[in-house]
């Protein structure tokens, strides 16, 4: 009996195999990126350019920085994130890899979580590289634990919706323009609460003024991850 046949589970895949499938997809994405480095480098250069544009557009002097840093950061993350999401799913489509993934005997939601985790990894790497650059350029300390938590929570919500919608966008004729149009109006609650929470942290306001935004952010994450998990099947079915 060939090895491939033996490894097929009899009925529904067990939980262990679900985690293994998710891990395999994440690993595939990371390995491919490690070799080409085109996704991260594209996102990173674009993010730095956005910061640069903001610098001149908003005249980021000391006073203005106080209030707009969080906004600038999140717009940067959101724009660069779109770039990464589009590329990540377009790669699957162009290489015909999506069909391969769909043929694999794994739960469709494993593909969703695999791609989402991969996208989250790229997004977080980009953010970790942008934050120190921004800190150095504008002489603000962005490495505060709470701010990193907000960045992580915001990225989870963004990627949860972004992976779902970019899977739709790459299958459309107008794919390059479609993702931002689809994503931005629906990801708005994540961005609003993330910007508000980040501003709160940076201006060192009392914790009980930050909590509502953090709670909202967590609620968004839960809702969007659950929604993506439930409807992803319908997006990739053939």
């Amino acid at each position: 009996m060939p090895a491939a046949e033996r490894s097929l589970p009899a009925g529904r895949p067990a939980r262990g195999s679900f985690v293994r499938a998710v891990g395999a997809i994440v690993w595939k994405d990371l390995a491919a990126e490690l070799r080409s480095k085109e996704l991260i480098s594209g996102m990173l250069v674009f993010a730095l350019l956005v910061v640069l544009v903001f610098n001149f557009a908003l005249e980021l002097d000391v006073r203005a920085r106080q209030s707009v840093t969080a906004g600038v950061l999140w717009v940067t993350f959101a724009f660069a994130g779109t770039l990464g999401l589009n590329r990540s799913l377009a790669l699957e489509r162009d290489g015909g890899c999506l069909e391969g993934l769909l043929l694999a005997p794994v739960d469709r939601s494993a593909i969703y979580f695999g791609k989402a985790l991969g996208n989250l990894a790229f997004m977080v790497i980009m953010e970790i590289l942008v934050l120190p650059v921004y800190s150095a350029l504008y002489n603000v300390n962005l490495f505060q634990p709470l701010l990193l938590v907000v960045v992580a929570l915001g990225s989870i919500g963004y990627v949860a919706l972004g992976t779902l919608l970019s899977a739709m966008a790459v299958q459309a004729r107008t794919r390059d323009v479609l993702l931002p149009i689809l994503l931005f109006p629906v990801v708005l609650p994540v961005l609003i609460s993330a910007v508000k929470a980040s501003t709160g942290v940076l201006q060192a306001v009392p914790m009980d003024e930050i909590w509502p935004w953090l709670n909202l952010l967590i609620a968004c994450d839960v809702i969007f991850v659950a929604a993506g998990y439930m409807v992803f099947d319908f997006v990739v079915e053939e």
């Binding site: 919706l161 779902l164 919608l165 739709m168 299958q171 459309a172 004729r173 107008t174 794919r175 479609l178 149009i181 689809l182 931005f184 109006p185 629906v186 990801v187 708005l188 609650p189 609003i192 609460s193 508000k196 509502p212 935004w213 909202l216 609620a219 968004c220 809702i223 969007f224 929604a227 409807v231 319908f234 997006v235 079915e237």
Partner: protein, 235 residues
């Protein structure tokens, strides 16, 4: 094959909707009293709220149609979804424009970044994205699936957007229920006003369902035409 003539139910519904909207118009201009502070411009309120209500209702109907489509996979639910979105888009726009007309004299500005205004705008943008998404997908089955998924995602996120902006302060009056102390342009409704208001809501809701049926019927006929063309091309 769809009958050329309107079915009886649709005739009755259309006539009822037309009559109700006409009566609502009469009530707004002849029956409802002149509001003492804001004057005549307050009369926008009746159709403004009714349009906003239809805009939101069609959003919910589109999402329900989306769920039904994904479960049942019948074309009709897809047609209901897209029809509802198109109608909702128009009424959302009516709500925004009529609100601006009211806001100009009362708030002394056409626009303010209030939760209700922003949420309505976001809703319009979600509608627009929905339409663009459908235009970008050629395969009808896939287009229907994507539309359904996006309508469901949209209906989840729009209320959260509303909540998140509501944390910030609002000046939009809340006429039903208790308003914010900072709200400007609020007023207490006298019984004739309340009657006119409720009647407008009813009239617009009936009009919505009449339009929805017409739009679904139109989509069906367009489809039938498409099929016949294909048949002719084959023959």
């Amino acid at each position: 094959m769809i009958d050329q003539k309107w079915p009886l139910g649709l005739k009755i519904l259309t006539a009822t909707a037309a009559l109700l909207v006409f009566v609502a118009g009469c009530l707004v201009f002849l029956y409802a009293p002149r509001e003492i502070v804001m004057g005549e411009v307050q009369r926008v309120f009746y159709f403004h709220v009714a349009s906003a209500w239809v805009g939101m209702l069609s959003f919910v109907v589109a999402a329900v149609a989306g769920v039904m489509y994904l479960v049942r996979r019948t074309r009709t639910w897809d047609l209901v979804g897209v029809s509802s979105v198109e109608i909702g888009m128009v009424f959302g726009l009516i709500a925004i424009v009529s609100g601006s007309i009211w806001a100009r004299p009362v708030w002394n500005t056409w626009w303010t970044w209030d939760p209700r205004l922003v949420t309505t705008t976001i809703m319009e943008l979600v509608y627009a994205a929905y339409v663009l998404l459908r235009q970008g997908v050629e395969d009808p089955e896939r287009r229907a699936r994507f539309g359904a998924v996006y309508a469901i995602v949209g209906v989840l996120t729009v209320p959260i957007t509303f909540l998140s902006i509501r944390f910030l302060r609002t000046i939009h009056p809340v006429v039903i229920g208790s308003g914010d102390a900072a709200a400007q342009g609020g007023f207490d409704m006298t019984p004739p006003m309340l009657q006119t208001f409720l009647f407008s809501l009813l009239a617009f809701s009936v009009m919505y369902f009449a339009l929805l049926l017409h739009r679904v019927r139109l989509a069906r006929r367009a489809e039938a035409l498409e099929m016949r063309r294909a048949d002719l091309a084959m023959a």
